[in-house]
């Protein structure tokens, strides 16, 4: 498997795999699953917080590509972005159908890079970059972003939860996204 400098799989094989999937090649879907199951599962689990449900949603995400291969257009963005979008939507739908689970924030995640053990996830380093970028945002912006993305809360729900006016919540999310984008683009991150 080819990887880019950040450790994530190179983009070029995605196009080839998607073309093979569109042609009904099962082995291509399995290869893609092996490539992206872990990051997609991490996102889904973060939202649904149940292993069994998370695995079902993970399978549904990849079956969306299998059943509707043309819903992904390689010219319009990376496959991982598309997978994350589908996975998030399916996970949030599933979560809304079930009971609400306790909230948790990325900041609760313990940094394991300096530990003795390291996991097998190929794209882990890139993901740490995003986690560190989030940590460098002002706390209010980070919390608003995490609640909107991982919990799927609307502005009104966010305003209720944070006890702030809707306008303030919108501004926090907007500024948070802008700052996050700048941090990731300029690579001015200080990895702690």
């Amino acid at each position: 498997m080819r990887v880019d400098s950040t450790g994530l799989p190179a983009v070029a094989p995605d196009r080839n795999l998607v073309e093979r999937i569109a042609a009904g090649d099962e082995s291509a879907l399995l290869a893609l699953y092996r490539l992206y199951a872990n990051p997609a599962y991490s996102l889904i689990y973060r939202i649904v917080r149940d292993e069994t449900v998370a695995e079902e949603v993970l399978q549904d995400t990849f079956f969306r590509l299998w059943c509707l291969p043309h819903s992904y257009d390689p010219d319009k963005g990376a496959l991982l972005s598309w997978l994350f979008t589908v996975a998030r939507n399916l996970a949030l739908d599933r979560r809304r159908k079930e009971s609400r689970r306790p909230l948790a924030f990325v900041s609760e995640f313990r940094d394991a890079r300096n530990g003795e053990f390291a996991g097998p996830d190929a794209g882990l380093e890139k993901r740490y970059t995003v986690i560190e970028a989030l940590r460098q945002l002002p706390k209010e912006q980070r919390i608003a972003l995490e609640l909107a993305y991982f919990e799927g809360l609307t502005h009104t729900e966010l305003a209720d939860r944070l006890r702030e006016p809707v306008g303030t919540v919108k501004t926090r999310i907007r500024l948070g996204m802008q700052k996050l984008k700048a941090l990731l683009k300029d690579c001015r991150l200080v990895i702690l």
Partner: protein, 370 residues
């Protein structure tokens, strides 16, 4: 560019997050649908930016065997057909209904002919004979259970030789079962084809012979024999898929045992909480890893056992998978070849939160060095 483009410029990230008010969302959606290239580009950019937040989710790995479960579902779903249009679905339903009616008519006609023949002479009518379902024995499971109960006190060479023999027996038994299942599927498919062919012939002859006013019987219920045949066929197919999966797994284990580079590492308890637990790892860098453990104490809810590969190189320690534990405290891990096995120098088992950890956090219970 319209005034809307400026009005929406800052909101595309919020739109992608799905947290905007429904009315504003509708306006932005219709603006996009109108074909504004500038806003389409902004929307795409926001889509990519927002999706990067997904990378910030704390890393987790699915439960062991998830790939196999996904592959099994994929095989069950095949083929990857393009979306079926409503008209096609109606067509298929109509065809299925027509076939059912045809089969029913065929059976009715046969019955009528039989009665007529009985009335005319004493010769009995021909009947379709459906063979009773065969009971498929599965010695594979019993043999696999044997391989799990290892005796670590026996000499290593004798143990390995016994295990190889058992794996070969299991492989043969599984192949036999598969052949039986395949034969049963073929038999059922032939029976179905025959029934369909007769139904078609009967339908043609009935429509040709009957006067128009007599050709409008009430629509009958589907024939139960056809449904029963279909159900049996599905059961046989499921059994065949299960046997195939088992054979693949056994072949993988056999390849590890047969490999010239196979190595054996015994793991001993290094923590009083491990009790009298023992484990043995057979691994080949080119073929994979097999771990057999016994005597492991039951863990409280929310915990699981995880195998770790200790390596010379980076990463120094990598996950080898989660142990599937049975009621007797026997645990098995079987993985395919992986780069982390190349420089393995030892193995450890820890207790981790359910679902496993990316980095070991629990107590080191068993350990063995190569």
């Amino acid at each position: 560019m319209t005034t809307d483009c400026g009005r929406f410029a800052d909101d595309w990230a919020l739109f992608v997050l799905g947290s905007l008010e429904p009315e504003l969302c509708r306006q932005m959606q219709s603006h996009l649908s109108a074909g504004c290239a500038l806003c389409e580009a902004r929307y795409r950019e926001s889509l990519n930016d927002v999706s990067r937040l997904g990378e910030a989710a704390p890393p987790r790995v699915p439960a062991i065997g998830h790939e196999e479960r996904f592959a099994a579902r994929l095989l069950a779903v095949k083929p990857a057909a393009p979306p079926i249009r409503r008209r096609e679905i109606v067509g298929w339903i109509a065809a299925a209904a027509a076939l059912t009616v045809a089969v029913w008519l065929a059976f009715e006609r046969r019955d009528l002919e039989r009665r007529l023949a009985q009335a005319a002479s004493a010769k009995p009518a021909e009947r379709i004979v459906v063979a009773p379902p065969q009971v498929i024995e599965r010695p594979v499971e019993r043999v696999v259970e044997k391989t799990r109960t290892i005796d670590l006190s026996a000499s290593q060479l004798a143990e390995e030789s016994r295990r190889r023999r058992e794996a070969e027996i299991a492989k043969d038994a599984a192949s036999r079962d598969l052949t039986i299942a395949q034969a049963r599927v073929s038999e059922l498919e032939r029976a179905l084809e025959e029934a369909a062919r007769r139904a078609q012939t009967a339908s043609r002859s009935t429509s040709a012979a009957s006067p128009p006013e007599a050709a409008a019987p009430a629509v009958p219920a589907p024939d139960p024999r056809l449904a029963s045949l279909n159900a049996e066929l599905e059961r046989a197919r499921a059994e065949m898929a299960r046997q195939t999966t088992q054979i693949v797994e056994l072949r993988r284990v056999l390849r590890i045992l047969e490999s010239n580079s196979v190595r054996l590492v015994d793991l001993r308890a290094v923590d009083p909480r491990a009790g009298r637990a023992k484990a043995r790892v057979l691994f080949s860098p080119s073929q994979g890893l097999l771990l057999l453990a016994h005597g492991l104490p039951a863990l409280p809810a929310g915990k699981c056992y995880q195998l770790w590969i200790i390596r010379k190189g980076s990463p120094a320690i990598a996950s080898g998978g989660l142990l599937k534990l049975d009621v007797d405290g026997h645990g098995v891990v079987s993985t395919s070849a992986d780069a982390t096995l190349a420089n393995a120098t030892g193995f450890a088992i820890t207790d981790e939160p359910a679902g496993g950890s990316m980095a070991a956090q629990g107590r080191k219970l068993l350990f063995g060095a190569y």
